[in-house]
């Protein structure tokens, strides 16, 4: 086709492109971009409805999940507890996210966690497996064997050089973190970043071999959820992570792309262990913030608050 004059010329191409860009910039409706401008969606309401609303506010699931993609949803189902203990993510939150992913054309949705207690019991008791049973393409799996993990390097790691993560997470899967808000005996609170420990094989060594807070920050440099949806419909304000503890009912869903921002907001919603805290007072959040993984100061965030 060289020398063929029937195509458009370079000049024509530049002209049309410039016109298009100009037109696009000028005519870009601000009400559409507003959705992407918020850092956090904080929605009050019933678990499923609030989750759907939060997804809409952060830009719609289509912003994160494209047709034909594999999605990993990481709820907290580490403990064989019913939802009222607030030790695990509410099944309705998981279902709402899974449905949205399937509707957005996801090829397959894996709901995964490396549970602390027996896989079978966790799947049963948390209600997550039952809730997802009738959604085609959604598989709820609790993995407790090393063969399902693969080692990756942590180039920016301070205490961890490498870590074995769930193989399903690799190979370009979209990761959506759906933690529950609860207190934690070691890290103070367990929200989104702490929840990432459910995606690795050796979670024990975090508790005795090195500083767990730096370990979580190291992990956050390699496991980066595209979206974090914090289930604070209930919050276990003490007695975490396993409970039983003091269960409060903030009735909130907090969603955002920035994992540190979501967690930092989550720190402020209830008094933990009987005291009020800020994100900066949580060592692993501060460490993650200092590594440049996200914003920690809630007052500097653009927050959409709503009720459904």
């Amino acid at each position: 086709m060289i020398g063929d004059k029937r195509g458009i010329s370079r000049r024509q191409f530049l002209k049309v492109t410039a016109a298009g860009v100009t037109f696009g910039l000028a005519g870009y409706p601000p009400f559409l971009s507003a959705a992407e401008e918020v850092d956090l969606a904080v929605i009050s309401g019933e678990p499923a409805a609030a989750t759907r609303k939060a997804l809409e506010v952060v830009g719609g699931i289509a912003r994160f999940v494209k047709k034909g993609q594999r999605v990993v949803i990481k709820p907290n189902m580490s403990f064989a507890r019913t939802p009222d203990f607030a030790a695990t993510t509410h099944p309705q939150v998981v279902v709402a996210v899974a449905h949205a992913c399937i509707d957005a054309g996801a090829k397959e949705v894996l709901v995964l966690d490396h549970t602390l207690q027996r896989a079978e019991l966790c799947l049963d008791r948390t209600g997550i497996r039952d809730a997802c049973r009738n959604i085609p393409g959604v598989h709820v799996l609790a993995l407790q064997d090393r063969k399902f993990f693969r080692e990756i390097r942590i180039p920016q790691g301070k205490v961890l050089e490498r870590v074995e993560v769930l193989t399903d997470l690799l190979d370009n899967a979209v990761l959506i973190n759906v933690p529950v808000a609860k207190s934690h005996s070691t890290t103070g609170v367990s929200l989104g970043l702490k929840g990432l420990m459910g995606l690795i094989w050796d979670r024990e060594s975090f508790h005795y071999r090195f500083n767990i807070n730096e370990g979580i920050a190291d992990l956050a440099t390699v496991i980066k959820p595209q979206l974090t949806i914090l289930d604070a419909t209930r919050a276990m304000a003490s007695g975490g992570p396993g409970g039983p503890g003091d269960v409060k009912k903030p009735n909130l869903i907090i969603a955002g792309v920035d994992p540190v921002a979501v967690d930092s907001y989550g720190v402020g919603i209830v008094p933990w262990h009987g005291r009020n805290f800020k994100g900066r007072q949580v060592e692993h959040l501060l460490a993650a913030h200092q590594r440049g993984l996200g914003k920690i100061d809630v007052e500097k965030l653009r927050i959409y608050k709503g009720t459904v």
């Binding site: 064989a80 397959e108 894996l110 207690q117 027996r118 896989a119 079978e120 019991l121 008791r125 598989h139 799996l141 993995l143 407790q144 064997d145 063969k147 399902f148 005996s185 396993g242 409970g243 039983p244």
Partner: protein, 443 residues
């Protein structure tokens, strides 16, 4: 026909064994075979001196044996089926001459039976060691079941690439937690010995050792079906050689009715077709009881009492209540527990967290194979309590879960429930600390 029934019975036994998981519905007695075993039941009653509801199931077998005879050994007993199966596999072609000590050995099972009952009278449960159903359940629990899981996982690993290729996500991620137990090797050795003894004589175990067979043979001669030999018999003695129980003596017209298990092997191999098993209601007239001599009986009683003495008069016994061995939730107080537990291993098999493990000497000689909570394995799952559901002698009681109640037994070694009605024992790898006052849990 008999082999089909036997195989079916073994299959049912296996199926019930596999059903003993934490999903077991309340109405299903997964421990059925153990419940209908009158030997285990009577020993538990005698040793514990308590009425045990589930032991009443054994009236089924007692009644059936009274009516029909000792058919249990030939048709129902899963260990008998296993012995016959292995006999066919391993010793089918081995020529086994009649043992010269046959008549002496034949008394052993009665001696053992007396020993067990005498020990039970002193409050020591020993029968578990040789009861066929408990023995086989233990072998299943501590050896076969872990082996089954190992093999299943190997197969899953081999087929995993296929599952991944086919997009079968569930199977591609399937992995069964491997149960592990103390005393697996010991249990295998004992079962292996039971099978190996067949090399000496067919059904060596059933003929000479089995205490359940001995107990059933006390009442089986009252059953209605008897072996009858018609005058067509030409004394070829094929039946005498072929009888797996050695129940036919020098005179082929006579039957040692206590040892006849109604397998009808003789009727099948008789060249003259002279043997039949008609129903006859002549009753006690032909009763031939056990051939245990008076001296043997006295020795056995003495032996049982001595074993009881040896087991009970040790520091273990006096420290029982104070020892820190943690029993399954709902277990009877230690002393009563040791007397009632039949060491079948059903609770340990069904334990979902693999926390329940057989003890060796931790609670003394009388505590062999009893279940203990080994919290280094995993925390006990407080909402499960399947161990109470499958305990055939209710040494572990079935708890109604959810509410903690104050126990009348203060020495109960059961998990502790805190004020929010949740067991905190080991909920964090055994390191749970609770500020709430703890109550022993027993309903």
């Amino acid at each position: 026909m008999r082999k089909t029934v036997q195989a079916l019975s073994l299959l049912i036994f296996t199926a019930f064994f596999l059903l003993a998981t934490y999903r077991l519905p309340d109405w299903l007695p997964a421990d059925l075979y153990l419940r209908i075993d009158p030997l285990l039941g009577l020993n538990a009653l005698l040793a514990s001196r308590e009425m045990i509801g589930r032991v009443l199931w054994s009236l089924i077998l007692i009644g059936a044996t009274l009516a029909v005879g000792r058919f249990f050994c030939a048709y129902v007993c899963p260990l008998g089926a296993a012995i016959d199966g292995f006999d066919f596999l391993l010793f089918r072609k081995v020529r086994r001459a009649a043992l010269r000590t046959d008549s002496t050995l034949r008394r052993w099972k009665y001696g053992l039976l007396v020993i067990f009952f005498a020990a039970a009278a002193t409050g020591v449960s020993l029968v578990y060691f040789m009861d066929p159903i408990a023995l086989l359940t233990r072998f299943y629990a501590f050896f076969l079941y872990p082996l089954l899981i190992t093999v299943a996982n190997i197969l899953l690993d081999l087929l995993r690439p296929l599952f991944q290729g086919l997009g079968w996500v569930g199977l591609a991620h399937q992995h069964n937690p491997q149960p592990v137990f103390y005393m697996t090797a010991v249990t295998l050795l004992i079962f292996g010995a039971v099978i190996a003894l067949n090399r000496l004589a067919p059904r060596f175990w059933c003929r000479y050792l089995c205490p359940l067979g001995a107990l059933l043979s006390l009442i089986s001669p009252l059953g209605v079906f008897r072996r009858r030999v018609s005058p067509e018999c030409d004394l070829c003695m094929v039946c005498r050689k072929g009888c797996p129980m050695g129940a036919i003596g020098e005179d082929p017209f006579k039957t040692v009715s206590a040892d006849c298990i109604q397998c009808r092997e003789c009727a099948g191999i008789c060249p003259q077709k002279a043997i039949s098993y008609p129903a006859s209601f002549s009753g006690v007239g032909e009763y031939s009881g056990p051939d245990l001599s008076r001296r043997g009986f006295v020795y056995s009683v003495g032996g049982g009492l001595t074993l009881g003495f040896l087991s009970l008069r040790t520091p273990f016994t006096s420290l029982q209540g104070r020892r820190q061995l943690i029993r399954p939730p709902g277990a009877l107080p230690e002393t009563a527990f040791l007397r009632t537990c039949i060491r079948c291993g059903e609770c340990m098999k069904s334990c979902i967290t693999n926390t329940l493990q057989p003890s060796l000497w931790e609670s003394g000689f009388s505590g062999l194979w009893t279940p203990k909570l080994e919290l280094r394995m995993a925390a006990c799952e407080p909402n499960c309590n399947v161990c109470g559901k499958v305990c055939p002698t209710q040494a572990i009681r079935s708890l109604s879960m959810g509410l903690a109640k104050l126990s009348p037994w203060q020495d109960t070694q059961a998990p502790f429930f805190n004020s929010s009605a949740t067991c905190t024992l080991g909920s964090r790898a055994g390191l749970a600390a609770t500020s709430a006052p703890v109550l022993p849990c027993c309903s």
